[in-house]
Symmetry: C2
Subunit: 458 residues, 2 copies
């Protein structure tokens, strides 16, 4: 395709061009992701079983692997208009500073108060909870992006929001906590005395600083033990990936408008929802044989589920109360080293991305965090935006690819997802600035030990 118009620094779609449907990439996959299993029976979860924990409409989206498009309700489209479309940015300054013939684009999801893409799914999940007549939702949060996003969505819809925040984050990230409180959320440090599982953990491990697995268990208990509540989750699930396709759909439309075709598409991967959301519409074209792209998932070397994990059924939570998913996993007992600063700490990967990776349609790379922060700082100084540590994994590989083009002279078009800002991650930047940040790569023995926590299925 020839580029006919001058490409602006930032491409914004008109409101009339914004997506009105989410795209379900599973519909175009010949071999589908494996179904969720009931942890008690090891049989596929039914809609009825899932509806005890999740909202009914979201359960439908979770289980449907054949319908290609789901309408975005008008109310959600209106909410999106408050912070979307997000800009597709041409990184002219970065290209010039690198001296690369490559053309670099990034889709920037950080221009909202949650500081990340998480809001895209938070509003949808909250909307269906409201529509179902529920009083509120419960969730867990670690770093806090998801909890903030959900608080914002619930405040907008005047819905109760109960967030179980890992105790160590609750204490070390008071500002994240206060954003959520400003949006009216009830934030409880986990483990807490408010749930049976919390009391049990506190009795067994007095003084524990908590874990994401424990916070999930508390949030699920809080949802299922109270009338009018359901549990919601910020990543990993297929429904979340579905909602995040708004990122990729906007990107694709913006690129089409200017006749731009990406050669390489790069995103960071924790649970996989942002990467899945960005690549889905492009992957759809690839699956249908309409176009070809190189896709790269970037993960931390300290939590390498795709590059060093196994493809197996595993628990989604360390508390083992959630369904089993078939995914690339390090074992639900895996806990990333305390050396690791950012998010992307999840032991597994979205079952959709796992299946695409297994089919060889998606590549994966792992990077060490000091390199990631070096790329982040370089990017911040040249492009202005202070990126989240998570997003900076994608920046690192985008820069690597651009430098390869400099060597080879290729004029590739590189697209990456800039999922969020680093305003609440300055403790990690401080460590980097002071030269006290270190890297950590788990040993084979360590991984073998956590693989041993995998359940025996099949």
């Amino acid at each position: 395709m020839t580029q006919t118009k001058k490409i602006p620094y930032k491409i914004y779609l008109e409101e009339s061009e914004m997506p009105t449907q989410y795209y379900n990439v599973r519909a175009d996959m010949k071999k589908k992701p494996a179904p969720l299993l009931n942890p008690a029976t090891l049989k596929p979860m039914t809609a009825e079983e899932l509806s005890q924990v999740f909202c009914t409409e979201l359960v439908k989206q979770e289980l449907d692997d054949t319908t290609p498009y789901f309408d975005i309700p008008k109310e959600i489209q209106d909410f999106y208009k408050m912070y979307r479309p997000s800009p597709l940015v041409r990184a002219y300054c970065l290209e010039e500073r690198l001296g690369t013939p490559a053309k670099i684009y990034y889709k920037f999801e950080g221009n909202n108060t949650s500081g990340s893409h998480k809001l895209n799914s938070a509003i949808t999940q909250a909307y269906y909870a409201k529509k179902q007549g529920l009083k509120g939702v419960t969730t867990e949060t670690g770093a806090g992006q998801w909890g903030t996003a959900l608080s914002m969505a619930c405040a907008y819809l005047e819905l109760d929001c109960k967030v179980y925040m890992v105790k160590v984050s609750y204490e070390q990230k008071p500002f994240r906590r206060e954003v959520m409180r400003t949006y009216g959320a009830y934030v409880t440090p986990s483990p807490s005395e408010t749930t049976a599982i919390g009391r049990k953990i506190l009795a067994e491990h007095p003084g524990t600083s908590g874990s994401l697995g424990c916070a999930i268990s508390e949030a699920v208990e809080a949802a299922t033990s109270q009338e009018g509540y359901r549990y919601v989750l910020g990543s990993v699930l297929s429904q979340v990936l579905l909602h995040q396709t708004v990122i990729g759909l906007e990107t694709q439309k913006a690129m089409d408008k200017y006749g731009i075709k990406p050669d390489v598409i790069i995103g960071c991967a924790g649970g996989g929802s942002n990467l899945g959301g960005l690549i889905s519409p492009f992957m759809g074209q690839k699956l249908r044989g309409e176009a070809d792209y190189q896709f790269i998932a970037v993960e931390p070397a300290s939590c390498p589920s795709l590059t060093r994990g196994v493809y197996a059924y595993d628990f989604c939570d360390t508390g083992r109360v959630c369904p089993l998913a078939k995914m690339y996993t390090l074992g639900s007992g895996f806990i990333p080293s305390a050396h690791h600063a950012g998010g992307l700490r999840y032991h597994g990967m979205s079952s959709i991305l796992s299946e695409l990776y297994d089919q060889g349609l998606l590549e994966a790379r792992s990077v060490e965090q000091t390199q990631v922060f070096a790329a982040a700082e370089y990017f911040a100084r040249v492009e202005g935006i202070l990126p989240a540590p998570e997003s900076s994994h994608a920046i690192k590989v985008a820069i690597d690819e651009a430098l390869k083009c400099k060597e080879s002279g290729e004029e590739k078009t590189i697209l990456f997802g800039l999922t969020g800002t680093g305003y609440f991650d300055l403790k990690a930047y401080e460590n980097y600035n002071n030269g006290t940040m270190t890297d950590y790569i788990p040993s084979d023995e360590e991984l073998a030990k956590s693989f041993a926590t995998l359940p025996q299925v099949e």
Copy 2:
């Protein structure tokens, strides 16, 4: 004018529609703002005198009250394209929640890493320093928005940036400090051992936590005592207000595009640069008799320079090393109560705005901070964006005006400036959330005492 197009939630100009010149409102003022005076001779400052402290090109802009437009250099236009145009937002959700017939718009300047409009002038001042062949610039920062903005601009232009940060902020706002360091700035807690004035103050007041006045004095000394450095300032000066007119020019063009005419234009006012930047092009129309608008400056009741100050020559800094300006002032000895949380702590007001206020062209209101935070929280929950405490002064009065319309049934169009985000102000939000925030209004006796610090001029 009739509204012919559907108004989107957010109006973005095309890059080709972005301003290429700043507008100098002084050119249209019949009675000009009074000139800066040399504190030693009490005679108007000459360009030569000012050039010892400020960059030559900026001195020209500072002194010129007749040229209506100044070209924005191509390099600055390119930098602006990385984070501008900023959106003009139609607050549909706020209108609906308030149940007002008023139409509310806000120009949102927070979508950049400095978190505010400060970057608009930081890049221009840094650009002229670079063009003059300087090695770097020095400045002071209190809350940190300005220091962050200047660090970003200097990183982009590869210019040294030395920031004297009030010691209490340096210690209580470590994240602000780290953003600046990430952008390569040298951040020094003030008072420091690095300057003669700093050493003097430390000897006289051991253990002092510093003040903005002291930090200014150190920054000016650091600029004038080193080859290749100049001092730059983030507000108050006419040059800064000039650069900030990019806000108003974009707003005006966006409104014209959709046939919108504001009735009331509201902004918060500390030193006055953001308000001046927003209203300048509209004030120009008023001064030329082409249109009429109501302009409202909103200031904290705890630092009420317009509503309770006097119009007189005063020192711009508590250290009394800078020129004298004629302005509405509380006296350079005035220090806002520690109860006051946000910015807008400056004792005086831009001489341009002061003169416009004195001529009755601009109104002023003062508001108490618990009301301001109540408005901020209300706004955040409805419109999504977590506003800076400074910006929330404007939100408070915009809501007041919208509620008046609800009572009277008037369909006024209200425009306000949303200057920044509150991501680094969560300590203040925490106080508000906990119900421990209080208000403070200085007594007449207290003001009389600080008026006594005014110099005898004329």
